[in-house]
């Protein structure tokens, strides 16, 4: 058996093991409540007399928090196989790079 076989075998076992641990109903509802509260804060920030220099980073931070909560808990990426994480974060990193380059181009 080669090192590669051993590595693939252990990752396969890990893939099965990781999929065993999904959150329960209570945890899902708790995440749902947190998402609702974060959305309410976002809308509150929009209407509050907050300087743009403060509001924009805060809104982006809240959005990132909601995004990560849904991806890690509702989509089970925190518990599932690393292969799914690799596929997803490749797309996110590419999209984020495009987003940042666009922001730089349009603001400079």
């Amino acid at each position: 058996m080669t090192d590669s076989d051993t590595r693939e075998g252990s990752e396969a076992t890990e893939g099965h093991a990781e999929q065993e641990h999904h959150p329960g109903v209570k945890e899902y509802v708790e995440i749902g409540i947190i998402l609702a509260v974060l959305t309410a804060i976002e809308v509150g920030l929009y209407f509050a007399p907050v300087p743009r220099a403060v509001a924009v980073p805060a809104l982006l931070g809240l959005t990132a928090a909601k995004f990560v909560l849904v991806v890690l808990w509702f989509m089970h990426l925190r518990f599932d196989s690393k292969w799914f994480r690799r596929l997803f974060w490749t797309g996110v990193i590419g999209a984020s790079a495009l987003f940042l380059v666009t922001v730089l181009i349009t603001t400079l």
Partner: protein
């Protein structure tokens, strides 16, 4: 007997690749990864054109968006993500009735969001904001319209599962199928989480 149980277990778990993960789930994640780039490109295009109003300087994000209305739509779509994980939890514990209830509730919440988007587009059209009005309006309709199409596809998938379960034709690998459709639905949700902030809440200077 033992081999029957093993075969049933394998069928319930679906086909697994040499990586030890479900092929269908891997395909769904690959699609989600590529769709992330697709929406990333559309968001980038919107950011480039958000300040380009052509001959219609009166139609801008500040004058046209209805934030309270969109906030309610956003909340409904967000809660639909909770609905689909509750459908998955019901499928995992063998509760068919609970699974159907939450699948239908999720589809209805998605339909409410979509109806809100159609209403919003109709109001915008009546106010003179057409697809060809300016680069801003074109990029807005393309971005949010593509998202709406994804929501519509998700609703069809959820209703297909609900109908098949009601007809007794959805009997195998329930939790895996619900999870994969759920992944698609959550993806639609996370795209909107980003769009709500970037398009609606962060006004262009």
């Amino acid at each position: 007997m033992a081999s029957d149980a093993t075969a049933a277990g394998t069928a319930e778990a679906g086909h697994h690749s040499s990586l030890g993960v479900s092929n269908e789930k891997m395909a769904m994640w690959a699609m989600i990864g590529s769709e992330t780039l697709f929406f990333g490109a559309l968001i980038a295009a919107y950011l480039i054109y958000v300040g380009s109003f052509a001959d219609s300087p009166e139609i801008t994000p500040q004058t046209i968006y209805d934030i309270p209305f969109t906030s309610v739509s956003t909340f409904i779509l967000l809660m639909s993500s909770l609905g689909v994980v509750l459908a998955l939890a019901a499928a995992q514990r063998g509760d068919d009735r609970g699974m159907r209830t939450w699948l239908l509730a999720t589809a209805l919440m998605g339909a409410t969001f979509l109806a809100g988007q159609i209403y919003e587009f109709t109001v915008f059209m009546e106010e003179g904001m057409r697809m060809s009005t300016s680069p801003f309006t074109t990029s807005f309709y393309v971005l949010t319209g593509f998202h709406g199409v994804h929501v519509a596809v998700g609703i069809l998938l959820l209703l297909t599962l609900w109908t098949r379960s009601l007809a007794g034709k959805f009997t195998r690998r329930k939790s895996e199928v619900v999870e994969n459709i759920g992944l698609y639905w959550h993806f639609v949700d996370i795209v909107w989480i980003v769009l709500f902030t970037v398009v609606y809440l962060i006004p262009a200077e």
